[in-house]
């Protein structure tokens, strides 16, 4: 357990006690589902149903229902895949890297961010399967012993690296998330009033007893998993970037891709965390836990990574010119001024220009502006992948094969599916599991017992809060 000095500015506001933290967070798990939640879940399930129908038809008819062609073999499918994987990165970064860097403000947001990671990776994985011509053979991409003779996967192929990267990432993320959940699940178990919850949460809590030994192991395992996850933050998107970087296509064949992709992933991931947390904090009234300081810190990271991405964009242009390779040069000129110029400039505006506004402190600390920018950034990052994939492919080496891509209703529908899936999962998570890591937040609230009124017991929370705010 950490001890937070009373002279530091508080990370949790409102003079919360340990009991308050538990109450504030578990209240939503224990209470009846609210009307807003029901509407939100219902809405995302409707979206999911529409998306599922679209995915089913894609599977039934074949990939011809998409807008792809002989020249552009990947478009929305892989754009969505990379986009979702990128979004996932923030969760791991917040829980692992920030843990190692002892950034304690992360504790209020890491739970939701990790959940987001897992759901995002699932969405990404769905596009891996979906984009295959024969998805029912997807397991062939795994190095399984098989009955087909001495067939093996191609370890030269970045797609195989992807399979390893994504599956490792998914399993470590799940483990990390679940380990972090155990103490909180035990809290829920302990407070549970009906047998069913007690049984379910009790099983999930795996006999957590809150003993010093347990806490010590918890701390160790968190640290170990953080150590394991940290390279994954770098490796997963590095490998995803190699899907492009190891190819021969101008605009893909670029050594800058690994760092550029990782920065972009963190950029979009933080934006997505912002989007989700800004909503959650309002809906669940967690303003005291997810404070303006959090928003401010995350905006700083967004600005930093956004700037890295911006520099990467410019570097690509410089290298394209400096390399002297005519195809490379054309690919980049075509990005900016070719038929897909609008996608390029949408990307530039959203990713490079908009985060720079966070240099203004007032904007950085404005909840509504942050929310707007978080959406804008994710639109921009989607376009980044679209630009990389489609504008590079649509005009590569032989002009005779140059073609345009335009999406069909099924490209859109299958993307919508991932939103439906993501939000359905996220809403279910936010109802049935604690959205804030109570155990860790408790570690960072000030042990400011001196601030408490004398008559603690029996005094209602409101009175205490009113007292505290004086």
């Amino acid at each position: 357990m950490h001890v937070t000095s009373s002279v530091r500015t508080p990370l949790v506001l409102g003079g919360k006690t340990y009991a308050d933290v538990t109450e504030d967070v578990i209240r939503h798990v224990e209470g009846k589902p609210t009307k807003e939640w029901k509407i939100a879940l219902g809405l995302s399930m409707v979206v999911l149903a529409f998306g599922t129908a679209s995915v089913f038809w894609t599977w039934w008819e074949g990939l011809g229902v998409w807008g792809l062609n002989k020249t552009v073999g990947w478009a929305w499918d892989i754009t969505n895949f990379v986009w979702w994987v990128g979004i996932g990165h923030a969760g791991t970064l917040i829980s692992a890297v920030l843990l190692l860097f002892r950034q304690k403000w992360r504790t209020s947001i890491n739970r939701a961010a990790e959940a987001m990671t897992i759901f995002a990776v699932l969405c990404a994985a769905s596009f891996i399967v979906m984009h295959m011509g024969r998805p029912w053979m997807a397991y062939w991409a795994l190095p399984l012993p098989n009955t087909f003779g001495s067939l093996w996967v191609n370890f030269n192929s970045p797609l195989v690296w992807d399979v390893f990267a994504i599956s490792t990432y998914f399993s470590v993320s799940c483990l990390f998330w679940y380990v972090g959940l155990v103490p909180d699940l035990a809290s829920i178990r302990d407070r549970a009033k009906n047998k069913v919850s007690k049984y379910i949460y009790g099983t999930l809590a795996m006999g957590w007893n809150g003993g010093a030994k347990s806490w010590s192991r918890y701390e160790y395992i968190s640290l170990i998993l953080a150590g394991l996850s940290t390279p994954l933050v770098l490796s997963v998107h590095t490998i995803v970037s190699m899907d492009f970087a190891t190819s021969v296509i101008p605009g893909w064949h670029t050594t800058i891709f690994p760092p550029y992709f990782v920065a972009g992933a963190i950029f979009s991931g933080f934006a997505m965390v912002q989007t989700l947390m800004l909503v959650t904090r309002v809906v669940y009234k967690l303003e005291d836990y997810i404070t303006i300081e959090h928003i401010d810190s995350m905006n700083k990271i967004i600005t930093l990574t956004g700037s890295i991405v911006g520099v990467a964009y410019l570097t690509e242009f410089f290298i394209a010119w400096y390399s002297g390779v005519e195809y490379e040069r054309y690919a980049f000129v075509n990005r900016a001024f070719g038929p897909y110029w609008w996608a390029y400039w949408a990307m530039m505006t959203c990713n490079v220009i908009s985060p720079q506004l966070f240099w203004f402190k007032s904007l950085r600390r404005s909840v509504s502006f942050t929310f707007l920018i978080s959406i804008v950034v994710n639109i921009g990052m989607w376009f980044e992948r679209f630009v990389i994939i489609v504008t590079s492919l649509h005009r590569d080496y032989l002009p005779s094969s140059w073609a345009m891509f335009s999406p069909t209703i099924f490209d859109i529908g299958d993307y919508v599916f991932s939103f439906g899936f993501f939000f359905t999962c996220f809403f279910l998570f936010s109802k049935f599991l604690p959205v804030v890591n109570m155990a860790e937040v408790k570690a960072i609230i000030k042990t400011a017992s001196e601030k408490l009124p004398k008559n603690v017991s029996g005094v209602s929370k409101d009175e205490r809060l009113a007292e505290a705010s004086k």
Partner: protein, 1026 residues
Amino acid sequence: MENNTKRYWKGLEELRNGEKFVKNAHKEFADFEATDPGKFTSLVDGVTSQRRDFLKVLGFGMAAVSLAACETPVRKSIPYINKPDDIFPTIANWYASSYSEGGDYASILVRTREGRPVKIEGNKLSSVTKGGVSARMHASLLGLYDNEKLRGPKKGEADIKWEDADKQIIAQLGAIAAKGGQIRLVSSTLLSPSTKAVIADFASKYPTTKHIVYDANSVSGLVKANADSFGKAAIPAYDFSKASTIVGLGCDFLGTWVSPEVFNKQYVQGRKLSSVKDGKRTMSRHYQFETVMSMTGANADYRAAIKPSQEGLVALALYNKVSGKSAASLGADIDACLNKAAKDLKASQGAALVVSGSNDPAVQTIVNALNSALGSYGTTIDFGTTAHNRQGDDVAMNAFIDEAKAGKISAVMFLASNPVYDHPRGAELKEALPKIGLSVSFNDRADETASLAKFITPAPHFLENWDDAEPKSGFYSLTQPTISHIFKTRQAQSSLLKWAGKSENYHEYIESHWKNNIYKAADGSFEAVWVKALHDGVYEPNAGAATSGASFVGNVDAAISAVSSRYKANAAGLELALYEKVGMGTGAQANNPWLQEFPEPISKACWDNYANISAKTAKEQGLSQGDVIKIEAKGQSIEVPVLIQPGQANGTIGVAIGYGRQKSGKSSDGVGANAYVLAKMVDGHVSFNAGEVTISKTGETREIAQTQTHNTVMARKSIIQEARLADYQKDVMAGRFLAKVETSEGPKRATDISLWNGYEKRNHSWGMAIDLNSCTGCGACVLSCQVENNVAVVGRQEVVNRREMHWIRIDRYYSSDAQVDDFEGLEVASENPEIVFQPLMCQHCSNAPCETVCPVLATTHSTEGLNQMTYNRCIGTRYCANNCPYKVRRFNWFKYFDEDNFENFHFSNDLGKMVINPDVTVRSRGVIEKCSMCVQRIQAGKLEAKKERRRPVDGEIETACSQSCPTEAIVFGDMNDPESRLSKIMEHENAGRAFQLLEEINVKPQVSYLTKIRNKDIEVKSEEKA
């Protein structure tokens, strides 16, 4: 063990041991009465059913199961009970035969597997076509399996038995003949001497019979002019290989005119080059004056765009210039080109050739005079043997339609002709036809003409037929059936014989006709000659005959005055020129999905005809690509979308014939618009120069299905490398682009630096050399490959979606006037561009980018240098296709061969499936496919050699594309075999014209290209164009 009297009982009945039980104890089936006899009478109540009911239930069950089975597709596989002697499963049989349709001719070999023809190849024994087979001829195979042909004879709409049809027709013919009623037999060009004999026999039985021959793509003007000029109403044999200066006047002789299969070979012979020391470094020079950008124009060294109204004056001006007279100006560009052409023509006296595609006898007379003046007759033009490819007589056909309208005809028969559709006066004939008492069509379907006939007595496909052909005088060939009749059809000749009261055995008829009329006793016994002719496909008693000229006796002055009055030097109006597409031709085979999806060599468009308009004219008229316009002339109109065509003469529109079929079948009906209706009749001759037209926008747009939409090569020198002849003569590496990479040790060739170890190719190393100078763009390889490799047809919408499946494509690039760094400008083609064709299939890279990225090793490298595709292993990530720098990989977006959306393309019905080559897997949905370098042929060739304990000999194994290339632009072979043609070419061209595409990415293709050389003077301003 104490008291062991414990008793076990089977049931309470046994325990109780009641009377009933005792009674039945020893019977296997107890004889219990039904408690209620009426209750268990139904079949389905189960236990107490009677034994007979069991049979009933069994029977019902069987029936139900069988009925249910009917709903699932039944895959019939029928083994041979008595195996035919000459058919071995998996072993192909080859038959020599002949293709002749509308005068187009080729001597062919037909490959059959288990009794079904699956491929057509050229017959190299023929000295007429020398193995040349056009794209349309390759595609004609699918017509055999066209499910929409008639199953048997028809009377009106109703089916009729052959006996009844014969009886009724003979009776009517007899009645008509008795009354002296006029009988007409209308056909397209017939090459068969026996068929003509049959018609003569028929005419002797019914003496009022007259045989009318017309061609939809008529050259009767040329025949008429030859009759006037030389007294010989025939088409002479041209020899482009002997010409050092060739001038084409609106004549697409490489694509559609008279006999392109023959001309392609000859033409390219004069343009082959060799970088070997003291090799051939000269080539013919070709000028082309034309309205529509034709395939021939694309191959020309100099080309000028002319308006149709100038056509005659261009011929006249050239004549005047060659004979040193003054000529009226036709515009600066045309004049300059004419002056140059005249100069070169004069310089190559005796080795010059001027051809005109005009159907105006006056123009052809001038061209004849010009050729005469140039000494072409007896050198490049031979009247010793004449070509029979077009025998149509427009005047006679015109007269027939007049007669028909006037009700003077009592009976008409249509043999291999469809004038209601493909004659400009088709509509008039359509009205007149019902007035004719007896009308019979021999066509295979109820097409535009046949559907109006009283009887349809369908003839089978030519692959089911006996026939013969005489494409050139004294050069004969035979057609023999390669499959027994699929439907209840009968050859037209048999029908005519039968109606003439003779034996309907046409096979015997041909044999006796040959014996009596064709066979030359000097060649040995008739039986031996006949069997040899049948085996070889050809019999050429006239081979080696000396060429003979002809002296010009025509009236040039009359022709000049006719031309001067008929043509204008600078007419202002918008003019329409009809033209014939290389693939579709006259539209007779329109219901052929292979042909429909064949990209036109220049526009790369398929599944449509369209209005070709130059960019300038389109701008003036406010049109852009895809705008549907209405073209009106002489009261007729058609609606077609606009296609911006560089090289199209300004102020003109070009529209292809052969589209807009109404009653041809699912694949063709309603595809495009029928442009024949706009053709003009000038002095009784059909003219495709339709004169001035008015156009109006309909406001609709229609996207044209094009397989290539970006038209210029963007100055990319590692893709297209070309040079001028003079430069090449100085340096065989002229025009080559050598990619260099800067390294610490100075610049190095890109191919010298590699991360890869490469593959050892110890046994064979299959590869290709493709000569860009020899490729005329004809596309025979595209269709041959499609047939050989079961490449799916995807239809118009899927081509619009850029998903055509062709394994080999011919990239066509226009030149651009822009500077190399002006990317936007480079996208715009020149107004009258230079064109280069580049056949492109899988390059079989030795460092293949596709192989490294496949996650499941579905695409791998063979020990023989092939990049292999394992369809079964493919999971369809398409990464290989993305990473292919040549974009040759094709993905199966749908289950093309078995899905309702693709049912119109013949692959989805049982009959159409018979065309599938059993040696090649039909690819299912979700997998990638691509050129395999015909690995099935390589494998078969290797096995054949192995059986004979020898190495495969060069030329023994040919890929479909290399075999079909009429100009030998594609040479396939083993690079490990020093004796192969490929090795020999590469030996000297490696330091000459040979380059590999995209050398700087060092994927090391097995396919090399030879630079394009243009016979153009250096001082031309567009010299540094890429």
